[in-house]
């Protein structure tokens, strides 16, 4: 039986596979040529530095993952390793798979570095984080880069209640690095039927404390900022301004209009949802991308008492679990820049019929807040706007709680 030594194999491959120098590679990248640069080194080598724009597929996964990154067989591909040997073997495998335009970079990453070209040393996950987020990072839509985006992101959740509970838990589990929670309330026994972030022993404790405890026990990567206050026209800019994305889980109309207007004015994306009995609504308001806002969908609030609240009409305990989880999914998609967000679309869920439906939300060209000629350019008295007594009008010895709309 004939055999080849490794030296003979490499000599044979060098005849069969075109090699380019690091100078040629730099020239191609500089000129914006449509070449897919595949770095086949191991994780620890990649972590110590890599060429900007390279895609990392360790050689052991090359054949399995290449089609995700390079779907077209005639797309030019340059394979890179540390010194130009493993890249030859990788290039041969790609040729075997039918890639017609494959080269190996002679000299590899070391040659690139020695030639004085720039490379980036990425921020990386710790070993513990690699393990914790492995089901995320293995997906090409995320990778370590996507996970780092999540860890760097700041999300504000309005209300640690029915919607806020699953949203906070899933975002914390997903590794959203900073989660702000606004809630002035304390945990009540009647909350436990649906507000799964709180426990029996949390009754009478502030919800922000209870939520922060639950998140700390779940994921130490997450920093929780508790805002134990009512969000008002006075503090909304200060609070919302600290975050990238806002998730609305509030329970009354004045807060919904306030949070909408503040997000439009500050240019923040708002993941909005509401629930009642067996039904939920979810949508994303992103006026920075030309999308509609809450006022485009609901220009005027209903008069007080006309629309019952969950306290008055009830809500199935699982329902906010579904709807709040949808909000968490939308927030993560927005952070990653993946998929189609629910911008301009209102997703309706009916638990009784087990149906999801979708309707369009059009931007109102005369919207008082998000149109080209807004009339609301600062925050107003939203209690009054919703036909309720102003907060200032509530006596000092009052609770300051919003009257359920």
């Amino acid at each position: 039986m004939s055999y080849l030594t490794s030296d003979q194999l490499l000599a044979k491959l060098r005849k069969e596979i075109k090699e380019i120098s690091v100078y040629e590679l730099a020239d191609q990248l500089d000129h914006g040529q449509n070449v897919a640069l595949i770095d086949v080194r191991e994780q620890n080598e990649w972590d110590q530095g890599h060429i900007k724009g390279a895609v990392h597929i360790p050689r052991g996964y090359l054949e399995l993952q290449i089609e995700t990154h390079v779907p077209q067989r005639d797309q030019p591909v340059a394979v890179l390793c540390a010194g130009g040997v493993r890249s030859l073997l990788g290039a041969r495998d790609l040729q075997t798979m039918g890639y017609t335009n494959v080269v190996s970079v002679a000299g590899g990453f070391n040659g690139w570095k020695n030639a004085g070209y720039n490379f980036s040393v990425p921020r990386t996950l710790t070993a513990e984080q690699r393990q914790r987020y492995s089901r995320h990072t293995i997906m090409p839509e995320l990778g370590e880069e996507g996970q780092l985006k999540l860890l760097d992101s700041k999300v504000l959740i309005i209300g640690a209640g029915g919607l806020g509970s699953p949203t906070a838990i899933y975002l914390a589990a997903a590794g959203v690095g900073t989660i702000g929670i606004v809630d002035f309330d304390v945990v009540d026994t009647s909350n436990l039927q649906r507000q799964i972030i709180h426990r029996l022993e949390d009754v009478d404790k502030p919800k922000v404390e209870s939520a922060a405890r639950a998140i700390a026990q779940l994921n130490p990567d997450v920093k929780v900022i508790g805002h134990r206050t009512q969000i008002t026209s006075q503090n909304a800019f200060d609070i919302i301004g600290q975050y990238d994305i806002v998730i609305n889980g509030s329970d009354n109309f004045p807060t919904r209009y306030l949070v909408n207007d503040a997000c439009v004015i500050l240019g923040k994306t708002l993941v909005d949802a509401s629930i009642f009995r067996f039904e939920g609504q979810v949508t994303v308001f992103d006026t920075t991308q030309g999308g509609p806002c809450y006022r485009c969908l609901y220009p005027d609030p209903p008069p007080p008492g006309e629309v019952p609240s969950c306290a008055e009409g009830g809500v199935l305990g699982v329902l906010p679990g579904i709807v709040g989880s949808l909000q968490a999914v939308e927030a993560i998609k927005l952070i990653l820049g993946e998929g189609d967000p629910l911008v301009g679309r209102l997703l309706l869920y009916d638990a009784l019929t087990a149906e999801f439906r979708e309707v369009k939300v059009r931007k109102n060209p005369d919207c008082p807040v998000c149109s080209d000629h807004p009339t609301v350019i600062e925050l107003i008295d939203y209690q009054q706007f919703c036909g309720l007594p102003s907060l200032e009008a509530i006596p000092a010895n009052g609770t300051g709680e919003l009257i359920p709309a």
Binding site: G161, G164, N248, D300, P302, C310, L348, L352, V359, K360
Partner: protein, 91 residues
């Protein structure tokens, strides 16, 4: 007859039905026919002048009727009308 989706707050007028069939060549006619069969519905949808309230959205298929022809929006048998009121609940 068009299919009409009834939201939770209005189901007490429709014997709990979330989906029903109703005749009407336009939204305005449909609302009159709904009122005849389920008294009380119209006052929840329309103001004293018979105009659809601003905080109630009525969709024909996936488009809101204000972007179509308002209450004069024509209906055919295949159309699905969804009444979607603002809801504030979240906690």
């Amino acid at each position: 007859m068009a299919t009409v989706r009834i939201p939770s707050p209005l189901r007490r007028y429709t014997n709990g039905q979330s989906k029903l069939e109703c005749a009407g060549a336009s939204i305005a006619e449909l609302i009159e026919n709904l009122e005849a069969q389920y008294p009380g519905v119209k006052s929840r949808l329309c103001d004293d002048n018979g105009q659809i309230k601003r905080y109630v959205n009525v969709f024909v298929n996936d488009e809101e009727i204000r972007t179509l022809q308002g209450s004069e929006t024509p209906l055919s048998d295949k159309d699905e009308v969804s009444i979607i009121p603002a809801m504030a609940g979240g906690r």
